[in-house]
Amino acid sequence: MQQFTVFMDIESSRSYIDELYSSDAVKVMEALVTLKNSVIGSNRQKSSVISQGVVPRLLQLMSEESLDPNIRLEATITIGSLAKGTPENIESLIEKGTATALVEMLKTVPLGSKLAEAALCALRSIFSHKPAPVDALPADMRLLTRLTQIAREDSQEARTSVIRVLAVWCSGTVEQEALTCAGACSAAAAMLVVPPRSVPSPSRLVPALELLAAMCFKNPNVAQVALNTRHGDKSIPELLMCLVSRDKPLVVALKAAKCLTFLQRAGALPADDSRIVFGALPCLARLCTKENTEDIRASAAEVLAYLTEVDTSLQRLAAISNHLMSSLADIVNCQSAAAKQGAFKCFASLGANDEDIRKMIIETHGLMVHVVNGLNNPDPCVSLAAVRCLHSLSRSVQQLRTTFQDHAVWKPLMQLLNDSPGPELLNVGSSTLCNLLLEFSPAKEPMLDQGAVEMLCNLTKMSDPALRLNGIWALMNMAFQAEQKVKQRILCCLGTEQMFRLLGDSDTRVIMKMLGLLRNLLSTRQHIDAIMSEYSSQVMQAVIVVLEGSYPAEVKEQALCILGNIGDGEKSKDLIMANEDVLRKLVDYLAHPESKLQEAALFVAGNLVWRGEAGAAARQQRLADLGVLRALKLLRASHHAAHLHDKVKTALAQFNEFT
């Protein structure tokens, strides 16, 4: 019989720990039970016995297959108790190979036995530690099949434990595919059934839902399998649909909605599927309301953000809800970073595509203040989410002009972009800036002071084409109707070398925007003359490079338009006129089969021949000599160019009447 002493101190514990090494099985058993009873419930005791080096012996007793199963059981239970201690306790256990030992045990231990259950409980406790020792579980098909068998057949406790372990372990594509092959979907489905007239037990449902979610996340193959997996007469989506209803515990409904969301995003369910439209979406909206706890609301907002991220019909559907905007605004106001992040992301998703929804969001009381606060939030996850929100809203920049000016969103945005931002922030932030620059003439000057031009020019040098595009596009917008000072700054900062590099970019869109930038720079007469006086050779060279190179038609069109703009300048006209090469090309393009190129060439010609300008006669003569007049006449006669006839006639009318 055991001694029921009142308490153990470290001295007396040493005595029974020694007995663990005895060759007498009875003594070992007694020592194990005493040890077990001393550590259950007390972290202090756990730490004490671990530091006395008891773990390796326990692992031995646990794993040795020839030993009495009762000894193995008590040893495993004791390990399981140690695994419920402090994070340091668990780290010690992991360090000494506990996770690996348990996994090994599970390969051979008879299913349905208490020993298996104890091992699973211990493993589950260890896997609840962060970071979990996922390496201890190899993606071995035999092992996984065994585990999923346990998940289907064993006791409630064992099934729940193994599913919790697998849910944590399933962290990537390899694991997702392996688990699917091993039949984890059907095991999870079996756990999702709630018998009629019984209370759904979250402790049983939640692990299975988490496993399913982890498996389906961004994996179309697995999602397809899950779609078709049935338990009894219900498929997984149907089982999930039952779980999102109002009478289910909130956590269960949330996780079930999350599974349906992942299935939809991975392509297994269409956006108009009734289980999304009448199941997941309303459930998530409902969980965002004020009466729920902050945790639930934060998670619901995050999942809803993911669900509505891409599909406009879902965005519209969610926006119909009469309470969602104010509920989300309230979530933004919560303390925790997770809540703010979830709410901002949700606004970002909802406002991504639809102008009316954006209007609704902007008009939500007090939201813009929250957005600015979010941009200033020290937590990078929150500020990134706020930028995403701003990005969506900035697509209606005309609508927001007053709102944005009032709240000076660009200042914190610039700060974020200047503060060594990560790649995601850089991408979204620069896109946002790009949109904002389209409208904010007044704001441009202070932006210069904040180093906007330098930052954008740097972006054009990045290896990610999306970032280059944002950079050059933003510069293009910045140059639109800008003051000469701004234009000079841009040219100076970007430099002609970079300009040529961008004109040779692998991404056509970048080239287009570079040319667009040139076009914007070369607008209004004084600017054109001022810029061309300094950069004429580089600009002309750039135009020629594009006209001569094998670029698509729309790119060449841009180059011709630039030429046209140059042709509008007072002094700059001469630059074109002096370049015979360009003039000959002009003639060619007037007869080009591609209509838009004809039109662009016509624009150039029209500007060059304009009668009202000084030296027009000389220019007209030169151009006629080179064949421009003939080309224009041909155009006028051509049926294909009917839509250009008015412009052609105007151009021809400029010529003094001489043949």
Binding site: Q2, F7, K36, N37, I40, G41, S42, S198, S201
Partner: protein
């Protein structure tokens, strides 16, 4: 919209709320339901012998005895008898994770042990025990700390049974912890009802009465739960 204000209307109003005693007698309660409630109470609380006897006398079918009924009975007896280490060892053998998962319950059991030492007048041992084991829970949980302080305060009094915290030494405290432990075991076994349904019924009565009181509605109120005395509506 107007209502005819005649005497008939008024009578109807009153009849809606006032309730004659014999009307409630008309409510039929099935004997079987009553017996099941009693059986549920006996089984949940662990009165096995009484349950079996009752089953015989009432002619009921085999009661749904949970697998752990015997163990729960023994554990309850150990707790109420002050043999705490024995009780803890039995719980650990039945459900090894229970006390690790519910540290507050573990603390309550340890506290009972402390109270045993105090009751026996072993003050020095009590203090040593408190600092070795209970201090840990007290450090992590504010409620536990308060209860620990109250328990140790008993030592300050020459006769703890007359101190302000004497309630801790009464058997009712031990019973309360025993019930707590019992419910925890049932919960661990995923039993739907960890408390007897009769308890829930009583709670419902109290809640309903308080709701009716809030709205100042006249009804026959059960003023004494233990004797089921129903007073006349005022």
């Amino acid at each position: 919209m107007s209502f005819e204000n005649n005497s008939n209307g008024n009578e109807k109003e009153e009849r809606k709320y006032s309730h004659e005693r014999n009307k409630s007698d008309e409510l039929q309660l099935s004997r079987t339901d009553m017996n099941m409630l009693i059986m549920n109470y006996l089984v949940t609380e662990g009165f096995k012998e009484a349950a079996l006897k009752f089953q015989q006398e009432a002619g009921l079918q085999e009661p749904a005895l949970c697998s752990s009924l015997d163990e729960r009975i023994m554990i309850r007896e150990a707790v109420q008898g002050g043999r705490i280490p024995e009780a803890i060892a039995m719980v650990n053998s039945l459900h090894p994770e229970l006390l690790d998962n519910d540290r507050y319950l573990y603390f309550h059991l340890q506290q009972l042990q402390l109270l045993e030492l105090i009751r026996a007048g072993r003050a020095e041992e009590a203090l040593a025990f408190a600092s070795a084991t209970l201090a840990e829970a007290g450090a992590n949980d504010a409620n536990a700390l308060t209860e620990l302080e109250r328990s140790l305060a008993l030592l300050a009094f020459p006769d703890p049974h007359t101190s302000p915290f004497a309630d801790l030494l009464l058997p009712s405290h031990g019973q309360k912890i025993a019930s707590e432990l019992n419910a925890a075991i049932l919960k661990m076994e995923n039993q739907e009802y960890t408390n007897p349904k009769l308890c829930s019924l009583l709670r419902m009565i109290l809640w309903s009465q308080s709701e009716l009181d809030k709205h100042n509605i006249k009804y026959p109120k059960m003023t004494d739960l233990a004797n089921a005395t129903i007073g006349q509506p005022k």
